[in-house]
């Protein structure tokens, strides 16, 4: 199935992309996607991800932390956002 991925900040630099659509297995979880990104962009991706303190990962606009963390299931056409801390004011 296809999922959309959005990057901001250092992850944008690590991938040289703002967004992309990726094919993942039909039973994929967030962990599956992160592994795939590591394969695609190398260990630098994981390093960049781990370096962002307070990184939020949203799946269709909801925090992955309340959807099961890295076990959160992905759905066909869903959007995953890797979001560094950002504030409104």
């Amino acid at each position: 199935m296809l999922v959309n991925v959005l990057y901001f900040g250092h992850l944008r630099e690590a991938t040289s992309k703002e967004k992309e659509t990726l094919e993942v297995p039909s039973e994929a979880t967030l962990a599956t996607l992160i592994e795939l990104l590591e394969q695609k962009y190398g260990p630098e991706y994981r390093k960049a991800m781990d370096a962002i303190k307070g990184l939020r990962i949203l799946i269709d606009g909801r925090d992955s932390s309340i959807l099961g963390g890295t076990d959160a299931p992905l759905k066909e056409g869903c959007t995953v956002v890797f979001l560094p801390p950002i504030a409104g004011g």
Binding site: L6, F8, G9, R12, E18, I52, K53, G54, R56, L58, D60, G61, R62, D63, S65, I66, T79, V81, L83, P84, P85, I86, A87, G88, G89
Partner: protein, 614 residues
């Protein structure tokens, strides 16, 4: 008092040009601590119910917190308190910069001003002296010129000035009070000053703020600085400030075309990486290491050469979402204009955006708008409209009243999409996508003010007191109470909202204890009770004015129309269920939305019992 406070309040009567000082009352300090606690108590005690917000009896109160100019981080904000001409209720607004510390150096914790001057004046407060200075030559001038000319007249570049621009003089309902390009913008405090012929307040002083327990204070300060440095929010605020559209955009909460839609890809033109290209310098308030403010300059395109300190997130949205077009240069120009003319960007942008929808629906035409074509996506009229609002010229005179009164004027069902609560326009978050954040906007006594109880759990994913699902309804009454009480807790010392999450209740309590020496303040549980007391007192101010549950209602568009697409698609604001939960969490009467006598007694607010729920 041993420390933190200057132990002196200045009372000024502009009608007869007199002033007096009084000492701080010890019980007032213990029960309300300072900052917002003082503001709420002064307003409740001083103002009779039913007074005209633009009449002589209303007050404009400036307050500096007990931590201002002590060395505590991020506590230099000044706050103003008044009965709002925009909402008819209790109001407080907060601005940064350097004004509050200078008030303390001049020896005052609060400056309470009532009456009306016969001619335009500004107050010159320097140490023990108060002078009424002629401001006729300043009337009509923008904020930058006003501040500069006052400093020149007083021959002192270090004088701090809080003043109004033409918007305040012309009683624009959402005119603000500004100091060093920082705004206490919301609710019409500028109009209150304008109604008093008070152009500004200039302060300068040479006193030192005493610290009661320096060892405890320094220890708390060290902990505060350490907490900042270990927090990702600090890095982000220090680097980009709030100049970013992406947070609410990826949550589907960046309102578009008067809250009718979620944005398409337009938001990408206003994300942090785009503002990075415009940033030329950082600025900060007195004694704040965050330095979140950004000077931006437009380098090319139709707005080339324009610069501003900002725009902050709310402003970059206010001049994109409501008009359905994202042009970064316009957001910088609009910010600059509003700062100089002296008005709130949120209400200005929303009033303009509301007019665009009225125009689209044919309720108003070019005949009404002085020939301006208010078609979504057409940004050309916006700078002109901002000027017209501030000077109440032509159609600007209508926009200057805000969306609630505009809907009353044009009627034809437009109240449905006048996006305001209690007359105050909603800020840059669609409440359908974050129920606790929305519940705060609905129930705040100020109207739709986000800082009254920011839903940081939903917006930032902050897991305190626990993680929440932003779409869930259950439990949002409790969370909203938590957020509102926390904001009141931290505003006793006027700690900046951005810094409050990083500082936390334990460190903040220790800072207050160390500075003031008041033992009770060292206990966060005591502070939580004071926070709740303040929120209840503010509610009772409005109850005395006749506000009820009916005034906590969101615009019908937010309640009835699901968001059509995006990450919050299908969501509405479940108003009745959310309000019931909130009143229950607060111990307030569900039918009227007014605190019950038992709750008021529990909080030591017996003097408000005449207006308690029956």
């Amino acid at each position: 008092m041993q420390g933190g406070y200057m132990n002196r309040i200045l009372r000024v009567d502009l009608s007869n040009r007199t002033w007096t000082t009084e000492e701080l009352d010890e019980k007032l300090v213990r029960d309300y601590i300072g900052g917002r606690g003082f503001g709420a108590k002064f307003l409740y005690d001083d103002l009779k119910p039913g007074i005209d917000p633009l009449g002589e009896e209303n007050e404009i109160i400036f307050i500096a917190g007990p931590l201002a100019a002590t060395g505590a981080q991020s506590c230099a904000r000044f706050e103003i308190y008044f009965k709002s001409p925009q909402t008819g209720g209790y109001f407080q607004s907060s601005g940064g910069g350097f004004f509050a510390p200078e008030m303390k150096f001049a020896g005052y914790d609060a400056i309470i001003i009532k009456g009306k001057s016969e001619k335009p004046v500004y107050l010159w407060i320097h140490d023990d002296k108060v002078e009424f200075k002629d401001a006729s030559y300043l009337w009509g001038l923008g904020l930058a010129d006003t501040e500069q000319l006052i400093r020149e007249e007083l021959n002192d570049p270090y004088v701090r000035v809080a003043a109004i621009g033409p918007a305040g003089e012309n009683l624009v309902k959402y005119a603000g009070v500004f100091s060093d390009r920082r705004a206490a913008a919301r609710g019409g405090g500028g109009a209150v000053m304008g109604s008093k012929n008070l152009k500004g307040v200039a302060v300068r002083g040479h006193q030192k703020v005493p610290i009661a327990n320096n060892e405890a204070f320094q220890q708390a300060l060290k902990a505060q600085v350490g907490a900042y440095k270990g927090n990702p929010m600090y890095e982000m605020m220090h680097t980009t400030g709030t100049q970013a559209s992406e947070l609410t955009a990826v949550l589907g909460m960046y309102p578009w075309k008067n809250f009718r839609e979620a944005p398409g890809p337009e938001w990408e033109k206003l994300q942090a990486s785009e503002f990075n290209k415009l940033r030329v310098r950082k600025m900060g308030c007195q004694n704040c290491m965050i330095r979140c403010s950004q000077i931006t300059k437009v380098w090319d395109g139709p707005y080339k050469g324009v610069w501003s300190e900002g725009p902050e997130y709310e402003t970059l949205w206010s001049f994109s979402g409501p008009i359905g077009k994202a042009e970064i240069g316009l957001t910088v120009l609009a910010d600059r204009l509003c700062d100089d003319l002296g008005m709130d960007t949120i209400s200005a942008g929303q009033s303009i955006g509301f007019a665009y929808e009225l125009y689209e629906k044919g309720i108003i035409t070019k005949e009404d708008t002085d020939g301006l074509e208010l078609v979504y996506g057409n940004i050309e009229p916006v700078p002109r409209l901002i000027e017209m609002i501030a000077r109440r010229e032509g159609f600007g005179n209508v926009l200057a009243e805000g969306t609630k009164r505009m809907a009353e004027k044009y009627n034809q069902g437009s109240e449905y999409y006048a996006i305001q609560v209690k007359g105050l326009e909603l800020p840059a978050y669609d409440p359908r996508g974050a129920k606790a954040h929305g519940l705060n906007l609905a129930t705040s006594p100020l109207g739709a003010d986000h800082n009254y109880g920011y839903g940081s759990q939903e917006l930032f994913g902050v897991p305190i007191p626990h993680p929440v699902d932003r779409f869930a309804v259950e439990g949002k009454g409790e969370i909203t109470k938590f957020n509102q009480d926390w904001a009141a807790f931290t505003e006793t010392g006027i700690l900046c909202t951005f810094a409050s999450l990083m500082t936390g209740p334990d460190i903040f309590s220790q800072l207050l204890y160390g500075a003031t020496g008041v033992e009770e303040f060292a206990d966060p549980n005591y502070m939580w009770v004071v926070g709740e007391r303040i929120v209840n007192l503010e509610r009772m101010f409005n109850a005395r004015e006749g506000f009820t549950r009916e005034d906590d209602r969101m615009p019908e568009r937010i309640v009835k129309d699901p968001l059509p697409y995006g990450p919050s698609a299908g969501q509405v604001f479940e108003q009745d269920e959310l309000l019931d939960q909130y009143y229950e969490a607060r111990g307030w009467d569900k039918v009227t939305g007014i605190p019950k006598a038992q709750k008021l007694r529990e909080l030591g607010l017996d003097f408000t019992l005449d207006y308690a729920a029956q």
